[in-house]
Symmetry: C2
Subunit: 418 residues, 2 copies
């Protein structure tokens, strides 16, 4: 509804340097002497350089940036043989896992073209993704188990801005996206670090309150949706700051507005419609409709991208089950921007959502010590994928249901009930 007003400082080196500072000090909360492994696209070189500066100033022992390039990715789809798409750079993903085991922090700059692979063969896209996901699994496990401090921060790439604002000239589209990024990341505030501390405190109160309620389930109701999401036994709500097993308390997502927890992999029932399109690995999936029985998707459709959706949920057994449920008020600053970002880091913070696939072990009351067997026994889901998609809006009510089946309002018309 409200547009964020572009300020004169939008896109200036100063704002970008403040974003770099937030990435290192709030996102990673980098420990002096810690190594940093950063991933970035070539578009984001200016931010990667500023983050490198900020990290060394914060005492990083070494910053290594692994750059990716959309053009080189597309080159493969244009020229490589189909047989080759099952091959991946296992040595690199194993190296990343090893870096994490040796204590490196992980920073990812995200801002990819939401439609990069839209025109490519869906079967090849799925095979390349699957090969990469399998090879990346050991590294991802260190992320999903919060073994290390890690963070995602955004960068406005031209392709992302064009996808969001196809009707605008590129420079104007970029300016609008940067303004939204700087607002959502609190870089436009007088003291971004203090603003993040205050925001983290608000999220902390909300998650503690929800954890204390020990709901057995959440029920989402609204147009096209009546979904009961069973919660894992002994689940805990997370959001904002998170303390990794290495003892460092950072913000894994910059921006973030959500509080979230682990559903029970076998206890979701009912049907749900997505309230926003989902940008999944280069394809835009629109109007997702899904029905769950005993935690498993038994029906799924989409008005565009149905083949990609089907391949996604066919990735493995856990890809048809939930790994996350998250609550975000419809009045969240990102939601109020009125923008569809086509990027999960933003869109998941504009609406309540669920995620298919891998659950976070952090979202248990004893998350730091839970064993893999307990994790599974108490309802934690396991998968190579973790894909958030939006089911909240100002038309959605959410009830909390206790162990006796009693319901109480959690959200009404998209806002916190209490």
């Amino acid at each position: 509804m409200n547009q964020i007003a572009p300020s004169s400082s939008v896109g200036t080196p100063d704002s970008l340097a403040r974003l770099a500072e937030v990435a290192v000090r709030v996102g990673l909360n980098l420990r002096p002497g810690q190594e940093v492994l950063m991933t970035s696209s070539l578009d984001a070189v200016p931010l990667a350089r500023l983050i490198t500066d900020a990290a060394y100033k914060a005492g990083a022992s070494l910053v290594t940036t692994l750059y990716s390039d959309d053009q080189q990715t597309l080159s493969r789809f244009r020229h490589a043989t189909p047989e080759s798409f099952d091959h991946t750079a296992g040595w690199l993903y194993e190296g990343m896992a090893e870096a994490f085991r040796r204590g490196a922090a992980r920073l990812a700059i995200v801002g990819e073209d939401p439609a990069l692979l839209a025109a490519q063969d869906a079967g090849l896209v799925a095979r390349a993704n699957r090969a990469r996901a399998q090879a990346y699994r050991p590294a991802l496990e260190l992320i999903t188990t919060s073994a290390i401090n890690w963070s995602l921060v955004p960068y406005a790439s031209p392709a992302w801005a064009r996808a969001m604002f196809p009707e605008l000239p590129e420079a104007e589209a970029l300016e609008k996206l940067w303004a939204a990024i700087f607002a959502a990341t609190r870089v436009d505030q007088a003291d971004p670090i203090a603003a993040w501390a205050a925001h983290n405190a608000v999220l902390m109160r909300r998650r503690q309150k929800l954890t204390d309620r020990r709901y057995a389930a959440l029920r989402f109701r609204g147009p096209g949706t009546d979904l009961t999401v069973g919660l894992a036994d002994g689940h805990a709500w997370m959001g904002g700051q998170s303390t990794a097993l290495n003892g460092i308390t950072g913000n894994p997502n910059i921006p973030t507005e959500e509080v979230f927890t682990t559903p029970h992999a076998a206890r979701t029932q009912g049907h749900v419609v997505a309230t926003k399109p989902l940008a999944y690995q280069g394809t835009l999936i629109r109007d997702i409709r899904v029905r769950f029985e005993n935690g498993v998707i038994v029906e799924a459709s989409a008005s565009t991208g149905q083949e990609v959706l089907e391949r996604m949920i066919g990735s493995d057994d856990g890809a048809r089950r939930l790994g996350e449920v998250a609550l975000v008020p419809a009045s969240s600053p990102i939601s109020k921007s009125g923008l569809l970002f086509l990027n999960t880091l933003f869109d998941e913070n504009a609406a309540s959502h669920i995620a298919l696939g891998q659950a976070y072990s952090k979202c248990f009351v004893d998350g730091d010590t839970i064993t893999p067997d307990d994790f599974t026994a108490r309802g934690g889901n396991t998968s190579l994928i973790h894909v958030d998609w939006m089911i909240g809006s100002a038309e959605i009510d959410v009830d909390g249901i206790d162990a006796q089946g009693q319901a109480e309002p959690v959200m009404r018309a998209g806002e916190w009930a209490a």
Copy 2:
């Protein structure tokens, strides 16, 4: 003397695409299904993209580019703590070694700023280099033992062009450097692939002739130089094409004009002056003068960069001994360009040279099967470094000395004697 005339096609996408083609087809001679691990600076993105295209067209299963960035490198020297300089990205270098073990080919795009680190603390530069060299050693061994096909190809970065032509505007400097690169890499010829085949045949005849002579030593004489380089027992001369242990015959250096072999690590005597400045890891070392006794440097000086020279030869035991001796006629195309490239890939192909440090096991008549013990017993040198520097010119005579001590002319006034 002669300047290369800039042609109208210099720097056009077409020339660059032909260079990419030479890199993949001549340099790597990529095998269909083979993975490619490429390193590049951010300056060379256009060439890296074209090489990626060429590699996929040639059947690459995957091309992964590891980009480096001078600005991020400098950021460390500006902001990081001195203690941190012994830390390196071991996980990445181990990953590279693993990629080679799994059969990846290695392509390196080179075009670094010859003076990048000139203003930085020499002690920190040396510590960072040493830590990297130690971590990179397993990967480097797979290169020096020719386990895989690998190749170096050049790219004209702005900083390199500025260093070569400080008096010219940047655009003009770049155009001159590109013209020299396209000429030296034979990309300016009608059929670059055929031109490389002809050139490789010439080098092959020259190296076979030298190998057949079985010289015990080479003696270099000229102004300031009287150096006798003992050769390893059962050495073989290499140059141009080389067949890796994986069976693939490629050209490890694009361009290349040299024929080279392995000196005996304990049999070099006399004094030698460098005939060109040496660009070593960001510092220009001028007027190197060195004296050898029984294969070991016992005196070393330089008019600039002496501290860097001393740290270099102090890297380890093998850094004071020779690992390569190479012959290049003063009339080589690169030499005739009259340019000082400040880059070993070019300057070593403009003059006869020696290299301190690691020897190539390929440079033995039984190089594919030689054991590490035999390699050492027959005079092969071992070190973390391998640094070529130029000792040839049109004023240098070279004699071959046989086992009986008889001398015969190999080069006179910088040209082949026969």
